[in-house]
Amino acid sequence: MRKSKALIFEMGRSGRQGYSLPSCDVPEKPVDELLPKKMQRSEPLELPELSEVEIIRHFTELSTRNFGVDTGFYPLGSCTMKYNPKTNEEVAALPGFAFMHPCQPPETTQGALELLYNMEEGLKELTAMDRFTMQPAAGAHGELTGLMVIQAYHRSRGDHKRNKVLIPLSAHGTNPATVSMAGYEVVQVPCDDRGLVDLEALKEAVDDTTAALMLTNPSTLGLFEEEIMPMAKAVHEAGGLLYYDGANLNAIMGYARPGDMGFDVVHLNIHKTLATPHGGGGPGGGPVGVKERLTPYLPVPLVDKKGDEYFFNYDLPDSIGKVHSFYGNFGVAVKAYTYMRMMGAGGLKQASTDAVINANYLMSLLKKTYHVPYDRICKHEFVVSARPEKKKGAGAGDIAKALLDRNFHPPTVYFPLIVEEALMIEPTDTEAKETLDAFAAVMEQISRDIDQDAEKVAHGPYNTVVGRLDEVRAARSPVMRWEKDKG
């Protein structure tokens, strides 16, 4: 199975070309006349030189060294790796969307504005929020935008002593990182033995320095925070606001809405819940919605409608300003909007239903072999602890590698941090029962393999194009680019 692959810099030959350009048809002047010599590049640019077919074969071969949702089951917890509908790709590529300039006059962008407007209407209904901005380009960007809005709100009230944001221990890493980026201090709130936020500890932690509580609900353990209402009450009574990390909204569409749970601000990860592809790390989309009292602080511009005409509204004097050069990842919004329109209310609710059935079903199968630390009804995902397997010699990371050999993408490993040797499993709504059965069977087999020869499992994978890669070495003496003389 091992197969090496040359870098593009090690291929091709001087003089080959992979492009075709028309010749310059305007009267030309010597470059030196247009651009002072000292401002010009003196050494010629070094880039690969290949013909078109070589380029296509190179990147096509690279694509075969990669695994996507279209390749197979991808139960990567917290990432909602559901199927990415092909219709969405088709329509987003229409020239009337893909080749628009962001500064075009409004009479030439009515279709795009209408789409953004309709999408906002849909997101409002889905989340029970009053207004949305599409500007944030991903979930973490949404978090930052949301905290900026919260900050602007407190500042507008002359409330300057609120310098802390509470987050539960189970929170995703972007939450605490965002808190720091917004200039706030993190206060960690512990979880109780049910895996839920410890309400008493939360009550003790909130005070008049609390700017907000950031919460994912259902949590990263896949558990619904049942005490959300008393939590919201405690935070609100202390003058703080509630921020909803919408990464897990896929569990509850049509069942419950963050705005009805007391949340003041929410971001959605449309590259998760609304089925847009993740592209190996983006582009995504992180629209942010807020309740009425926070709308004045949203980024400019918002999309509004006057009569039959849509327009960008910049007339928001209290707005925080901008978080993206233009209007966010519009091309991704087109895909998410198409998905919402094709699913409708019934389809979205069914998606959440099936996501939850799939997760509970898979948990019931895996429970027979693996330790499930929070053994109760879960929502769209659940967490297994491979602590017993680790004691035998192969832990969560090794189980992940063993799955690679069986053509499954592994679950998220070593997260959330509150579970030792965590395997976080999110099957999503777009998987068939047979797939879950097959996955569970393979997981059982891996468990037996560990019993028989843990050492062997700890050294996998065996069937991949490269063996287990040395990440420690990569970090100790980092090589982050190809260099000519090093070859």
């Binding site: 870098l7 350009l21 640019l45 075969t64 088709e90 300039h101 009515q110 990182a177 998987e431």
Partner: protein
């Protein structure tokens, strides 16, 4: 119900699965949601569309927009109508690439990891920097994060940004700085370029980052020669926002002393898409690598010594360092970066140079032709790369409406961003514009007023 074709479970599957779970109904799976937060009705959304209906609806929305395929565009200001080779969408359309997540499991993600490693290398070759990351969201957030990086590296909390840096980027930068409690001052303009005399006066030992753009927002190639020394004398960091398509022609920022290079990579084969997805470029000298935000692909070996690629230096990142991370960025624009790598591979050194030279020549020809017209004047002197600002004899919005009648997307009106620039427009001319298109534009301008 819509979307049945995306949901494989049948009613029989569901019943069997509920039985296996040991519950009676779906309701039991949602009983942990307290009654008072349960939605007591169905969502009210427009009726579900079948595939053909969705395509019709979306096509109808798209048909209400003008775009580069039915207009001739002279719009720039950070997003351009550059040529996009067909190979790009055939590669980014490979679903092993576009349907995968961030490459957390390197052994089955060698495709994305190697492509990103190649992208990083190409960005280093263009900019002269030592290291590049896998991308930021866009030019604006790259500028903001670059400036913040300077604060981290110097442990200072003030940045100076030139007014010749894109107002879109400055708006984002201001917001990032304001919320963090960092201080930001703007360096004034002189003839449309950074007033380096003023910069010298503003520099002090409290300054972390100085941010300039090359070519600047007005398309001008600034004389940046001595700036780096000035900045480094105060132990501050020089952040350059560069247009990657200018770099085959212009001096690489490393040569004039940049410490961090950021910028918008849309020109590298990325569709304009109404301003997103774009591509934030981020590169630096190796001494700043610990402050570098975002993903980095690095080379290593497997257990048998085979070469391979992994995400590296992850101790900078949010999932490890949490509140002490260099940035909160997680998802970025990886697929766009991959497309940019295909672009740079396809164009190669020669093609990229040709694109840059054609931009230079065509912009110069257009600038000369327009400013020869009565009432049209250069807003600023100085050499321009692919766009330039012109004072026009009337209201830019009115002019653009007239041009639109001829299916021309005219220049960007600068007054909203620079109140002192009344009736000034920014025209961009890429390698895609033909002499005929340019001459048509000029004829239309001539007939106006």
């Amino acid at each position: 119900m819509g979307g049945k074709h995306y949901l494989p479970l049948t009613d029989q599957d569901r019943n069997e699965m509920l039985a296996a779970i040991g519950v009676k109904s779906v309701e039991d799976l949602f009983s942990d949601i307290p009654k008072e937060v349960r939605l007591q009705r169905e969502l009210e959304l427009p009726p579900a569309l079948a595939e053909s209906e969705a395509i019709k609806h979306l096509s109808s929305l798209a048909s209400k927009n003008k775009h580069f395929h039915n207009c001739v565009s002279f719009m720039g200001a950070g997003v351009y109508d550059h040529f996009i080779p067909s190979v790009i969408k055939h590669i980014t359309g490979r679903s092993e690439f576009y349907t995968c997540y961030t490459p957390y499991q390197p052994e089955i993600s060698q495709g994305v990891l190697q492509a990103i490693f190649e992208y990083q290398t190409m960005i280093c070759q263009l900019t002269g920097m030592d290291v590049a990351n896998a991308s930021m969201y866009d030019g604006g957030t790259a500028v903001a994060e670059g400036a913040v990086m300077g604060c981290g590296a110097t442990r200072r909390s003030k940045a100076l940004v030139s007014r010749s840096v894109s107002p879109f980027y400055r708006a984002v930068l201001k917001n990032y700085f304001h919320s963090r409690g960092l201080e930001l001052e703007e360096i004034p303009l002189r003839d449309g370029c950074t007033d380096t005399g003023e910069l010298e006066k503003m520099l002090g030992d409290d300054v972390a980052s100085v941010i300039l753009q090359q070519p600047n927002f007005f398309g001008l190639v600034e004389e940046i020669g001595g700036v780096a020394d000035m900045v480094h004398n105060h132990k501050a960091v020089l952040v350059i926002s560069a247009d990657p398509l200018s770099l085959p022609l212009l001096q690489p920022p490393a040569e004039y002393g940049a410490d961090i290079v950021v910028g918008e990579g849309q020109g590298l084969g990325v569709p304009a898409s109404f301003g997103g997805p774009l591509l934030g470029i981020m590169a630096s000298r190796s001494k700043f690598v610990r402050q570098l935000p975002g993903r980095i692909a690095g080379e290593t070996v497997d257990s048998e010594g085979n070469r391979g690629y992994v995400l590296t230096l992850q101790t900078r990142e949010q999932h490890i360092r949490r509140e002490k991370a260099a940035s909160n960025i997680c998802s970025n624009e990886a697929l766009v970066a991959l497309g940019a790598a295909v672009y740079m591979a396809a164009m190669g050194p020669q093609g990229m140079r040709e694109v840059a030279e054609q931009c230079l020549q065509k912009a110069a020809y257009t600038r000369e032709s327009i400013t020869a017209l009565k009432g049209f004047e250069n807003a600023f002197p100085g050499p321009a790369f692919k766009e330039f600002a012109v004072t026009v004899p009337g209201d830019p919005a009115e002019l653009n409406r007239k041009l639109l009648e001829k299916d021309i997307l005219g220049g960007v009106d600068l007054a909203p961003f620079y109140p002192e620039l009344n009736n000034v427009m920014l025209f961009a001319v890429t390698e895609k514009r033909t002499r005929e298109e340019i001459d048509t534009l000029v004829r239309e301008l001539e007939g106006w007023k």
